[in-house]
């Protein structure tokens, strides 16, 4: 059963992504197999760009000093790559304004669909038009775990192209879970429960989902093309649940069922730091327990107007990001905001590093990447996106350096590089016209 589901997924990838569908065995051949330690891929996303001069290190590749924004990563220098110079080339093309394109193309690397989401300058756009890199990786490495992937959000509001980064396929955005209580229940409610009860639940669910899946399957040929795409996505989700029945987490090592203390209201701005920390704790434990191998955490959303009262910044982030280069106050505040985000990233790095696994840590078997929506907020510059990679993906990533990438290198090629590091053999990702060969992180 597992096998047939995988082959169905490889077909879906062909439909969903712009890249060529690969034969099943080729996809599976790239994966080390369940006997070795699991590899994970995690995206950490923040909006509105950085201040490059405060972000960029000084020195040389191996001997460098972090800029003020990345200072919180100083203790983890040997675990990170400051990835400097990759361009979101595709995000200058297609429908949508700068924010819509940068957000919707950040992980899909292909032009957005036409649609009714209104943007700046009279532009409008629809959803992303391809699978996102995290989901492409989940299709290859996520079959063995209870969840193919997990999407966490911190105060992601609205429900449009600017508030989604992950896509199962064209126009199939995945909403992030903003509430740690709901996330906790989903991950750990039935965790390590009575084995007899769990067995019965699996048997019942299998019986029901078989019938539900058949119901959708029967309907598909009877409806029009647009409806079929929607119902197929639903069927795919049902099959996905069915495939994972009975696959629980792995106890032991760093994995313990966490305790969820009091949770403040996730929609209150002042609770952002507390909610963010809870979400990162859940994410880290989900990896340690092998409940999933692919995850993302999205902080706010594109063009967010939210202020940062805990940093004494009453202005909205987007408003600040729009101010000119010579507005020293705004520049200082944007640096402060990005430094705070870096502290959060460093917290996640530290957390994963503190979880022992094999001869190293969970971080050693993870590829964690910080993606910013833009390089620069006031002109929406999408060249030289300030990426930071952390972890070693089981040895496939060579950490401990400031990797300066000269010339025009597309983020398509970065994602191919990440896919390769995760064991996928792909040569292109997203819109293949931007692919010139993988950016090797090893």
């Amino acid at each position: 059963m597992k096998k047939s589901t995988l082959s169905r997924r490889s077909v879906l990838r062909g439909v969903g992504g712009a890249c060529i569908a690969l034969p099943l065995l080729e996809i599976m051949g790239g994966w080390d197999g369940p006997a070795s330690l699991p590899k994970r891929f995690v995206v950490f996303w923040t909006p509105n760009g950085t201040i490059l001069k405060d972000w960029r290190p000084t020195g040389t590749e191996k001997k460098y000093t972090m800029g003020p924004i990345l200072k919180p990563l100083e203790p983890f220098k040997s675990d990170v790559i400051v990835l400097d110079g990759v361009d979101e080339l595709s995000a200058y093309d297609g429908p949508g304004d700068a924010h819509q394109k940068a957000t919707g193309q950040g992980l899909t690397a292909t032009a957005l669909q036409e649609g009714d989401f209104k943007g700046a300058g009279g532009n409008s756009a629809g959803w992303g038009n391809g699978i996102s890199v995290d989901q492409a990786i989940a299709n290859a490495v996520g079959a063995a775990t209870q969840f193919s992937s997990l999407e966490f959000g911190v105060n992601v509001y609205g429900a449009n192209v600017g508030s989604r980064i992950s896509y199962r396929g064209p126009a199939q955005p995945i909403p992030p879970e903003n509430d740690p209580v709901a996330g906790f229940n989903r991950l750990f409610e039935g965790f390590a429960s009575d084995p007899e009860a769990a067995k019965r639940r699996v048997a019942e669910r299998k019986l029901v989902l078989d019938a539900v899946g058949a119901d959708y399957q029967k309907l598909l040929p009877k409806v029009g093309a647009a409806d079929r795409i929607k119902l197929e996505a639903h069927l795919d989700a049902v099959r996905d649940i069915e495939m994972r029945l009975g696959s629980g987490g792995t106890m032991g090592g760093a994995c313990v069922k966490p305790e969820l203390g009091p949770v403040p209201k996730p929609t209150e701005i002042v609770n952002t730091p507390a909610i963010g920390k809870l979400q990162m704790d859940l994410l880290a434990m989900a990896l340690a327990c092998d409940l999933t191998r692919v995850a993302s955490i999205m902080w706010n959303n594109s063009a967010t107007a939210k202020p940062f009262p805990w940093l004494n910044i009453p202005e909205g982030h987007h408003e600040l990001a729009h101010r000119g280069d010579d507005d020293a106050d705004a520049q200082a505040k944007i640096t402060k905001i990005n430094t705070w985000y870096c502290e959060q990233f460093a917290y996640l790095v530290e957390k994963l590093k503190s979880m022992p696994e094999g001869n190293g840590s969970v971080l050693d078997n993870t590829l964690l990447i910080w993606v910013n929506e833009h390089q620069k907020g006031n002109d929406h510059d999408r060249d030289q996106i300030p990426y930071v990679v952390a972890g070693r993906a089981g040895g496939a990533v060579k950490a401990g350096r400031w990797m300066q990438v000269p010339g025009k290198v597309s983020h398509n090629d970065l994602w191919v590089g990440c896919m390769n590091a995760m064991g996928l053999p792909d040569k292109t990702f997203g819109d293949p016209t931007y692919c010139k060969g993988a950016l090797n992180l090893g």
Partner: protein, 579 residues
């Protein structure tokens, strides 16, 4: 400050490129987003900057000439929203736990959350459908097994007989139509497997769990009924019409009367549908559905999310937000169902609703209890929903008012125009609060700088009219020690000119045919779960004409919406057949 020529070109620029031409040209939209009809003078016709008004006011074409044949427009399969799910399981199973509240929020489009194109199912939602179905089925079997079995006693009549009775009697309620033989067979196979592996009750529970995850429950699946001589268009079949009516007017499943009408051939004609619609408007569920529309259209569902700066508003108690929402909902409810029922009253009523706590917030003497009662404020201060505190607080910043957002609201929600967000490379921080300067003076840069004026001349002068209402929606006579100047101006619309205060603005709005057309357009989007297309112009014209003829009656508009080609027919896209 600028003559009409400049304003007009700014408006034209709005239509084609946004209000500003971005540097580099990389953000320039395609010409397709241009103004509705070539050659017409935007300033004279008040052309919709959105360009979506299409052929409905082009003058040069006779729209009637194009309105031949049946034109239902797109007919996508519609998935339940969270509210529809909760209402449906309430009406189907008596469950009031509202499980849909835990589902992910719907994706929004054109201001509404029920746009069929955006209601896709991600794995997390499928998981939640599963969880909800399991819990609902468990509770139903535990508490209502005899009712589910229709009184069939398995001990005396046999388990197989009762299971069959359950599928054939209860199944049609879940699927909102009779089941096909193969559907019953498949469900009975689930029952038998449950019976074999576990027991009778488990079998019944698993069948119900299956049905609650079926596409025929979660979606409104339609195939239509063939019409002789037509290949691309079909009539919506009677059971499908029953569901269209119930989800539009009640946000829930059909009742027994509707199902009976569908079964007996009494839900076929426009007259049949209109009669049912009128009956349904008398049910409390219609009030709920209409409230749901206004919660979204007037952003009432955002009132409780409002966060205000305690330094600026030290006396503001966030507990008042829920009361502000109740005020707005009670008002709408009253006008539409118990009052005049028309759009003009919604925009102009000199009264609102308050209870004791809310009256205290507003500083109004009157209500003494927790119950909401009608309070006359007079036509110089109150103007329907436009002057209510909830809307005013939503359309404001944490520490000040926002003429931009208030003007934008009038343009987008009331006139159905579109104002693009600010372009690249501009400082969009609102002017800082200055105790010595009124808001209007702090916003002067928007009209002084021609780069800003292109868009802001459409918004700010409208928003200034609301300056009597501070950031938490309370009336004020002065700001920064100076009397409030609430004069404003509308340009680039069908009714243009200056006004003083919101009542003055409302007088201009009710005179504008754009407001009338916009109201029908917003209801079109909500009722049909989709954005309007060019091919819908005939339907929009029809709706507009009927709405005007009825004295802008909202209940009449709801009935009219069930009479269009978009409601009675569907564009045939698949191969399936209805029963």
């Amino acid at each position: 400050m600028y003559g009409r020529g400049l304003v007009t070109s700014a408006l034209l620029a709005t239509a084609t490129w946004g209000c500003h031409n971005d540097s580099g040209g990389s953000e320039v939209a395609s010409a397709g987003s241009g103004i509705g009809s070539g050659g017409t003078d935007a300033a004279d016709t008040g052309n919709d900057p959105n360009g979506t008004s299409g052929g409905d006011d082009t003058g040069g074409n006779n729209p009637e000439a194009q309105c031949e044949g049946i034109t239902p427009g797109p007919s996508p399969v519609r998935r339940m929203t969270r509210v529809e799910y909760d209402n449906t399981v309430r009406d189907l199973l008596g469950d009031k736990t509202r499980p849909g509240l835990n589902f992910p929020a719907e994706e929004e489009s054109l201001g509404f959350n029920n746009n069929a194109d955006t209601l896709v199912v991600a794995p997390i939602l499928a998981e939640q459908y599963q969880d909800a179905a399991e819990k609902l089925a468990e509770a139903a079997v535990l508490n209502h097994l005899p009712a589910l079995l229709g009184g069939c006693n398995p001990a005396s009549l046999g388990e197989a007989v009762c299971a069959e009775k359950f599928v054939t009697n209860f199944g049609p309620l879940v699927y909102r139509r009779p089941l096909a033989a193969e559907e019953s067979t498949a469900l009975l196979a689930v029952f038998n497997a449950g019976l074999d592996q576990f027991d009778f009750e488990t079998g019944i529970r698993l069948v119900l769990t299956t049905m609650l995850q079926s596409p025929h429950f979660l979606y409104r699946v339609e195939f239509g009924a063939p019409i002789e001589g037509e290949t691309e268009v079909r009539k919506v079949a009677p059971y499908e019409l029953a569901s269209r009516l119930s989800y539009f007017l009640w946000g829930s499943m059909p009742d027994a009367t509707l199902i009976k009408a569908a079964a007996s051939g009494k839900l076929e004609t426009r007259a049949d549908v209109a009669a049912q619609a009128r009956r349904m408007l008398g049910d409390p569920r219609a009030r709920e559905a209409v409230r749901e529309f206004h919660d979204q259209w007037l952003k009432l569902n955002h009132i409780e999310e409002v966060q205000k700066d305690p330094d600026m508003y030290p006396d503001f108690d966030p507990a008042v937000l829920a009361l502000l929402r109740t005020e707005a909902e009670t008002f709408i409810d009253h006008v539409i169902w118990d009052g005049e029922g028309d759009l003009n009253t919604m925009l102009q009523a000199p009264y609102t609703f308050m209870n004791a706590d809310l009256a205290k917030h507003y500083g109004v003497v009157g209500p003494m209890t927790d119950a909401f009662e009608k309070v006359e404020l007079g036509p110089s201060k109150a103007s329907g929903f436009l002057t209510q505190g909830g809307l005013m607080a939503v359309l404001a910043k944490a520490n000040q008012t926002s003429p931009i957002h208030r003007g934008k609201f009038i343009r987008e929600s009331i006139l159905c125009q579109f104002i693009p967000p600010p372009p690249d490379n501009v400082d969009i921080t609102p002017p800082e609060v200055d105790p010595s300067l009124p808001t209007r003076e702090r916003f002067l840069q928007h009209s002084a700088d021609p780069f800003c004026a292109g868009c802001h001349s459409l918004m700010d002068p409208v928003g200034f009219g609301f300056e009597h209402f501070d950031g938490i929606g309370k009336w004020r006579d002065t700001e920064a020690g100076k009397p409030i100047n609430a004069t404003g101006e509308i340009i680039s619309a069908k009714v243009m000119g200056t006004f003083d205060g919101v009542p003055g603005l409302a007088t201009m709005l009710v005179e504008s045919p754009e407001v009338e057309a916009c109201m029908t357009r917003q209801w079109f989007r909500f009722a049909y779960g989709r954005g309007e297309k060019n091919e819908d112009n005939c339907i929009l014209d029809e709706l507009g004409a009927e709405f005007a003829a009825s004295g802008r009656s909202i209940p009449d508009l709801l009935v009219t919406l069930t009479q269009t080609d978009a409601f009675m027919y569907r564009t045939h896209t698949g191969e399936g057949e209805s029963k």
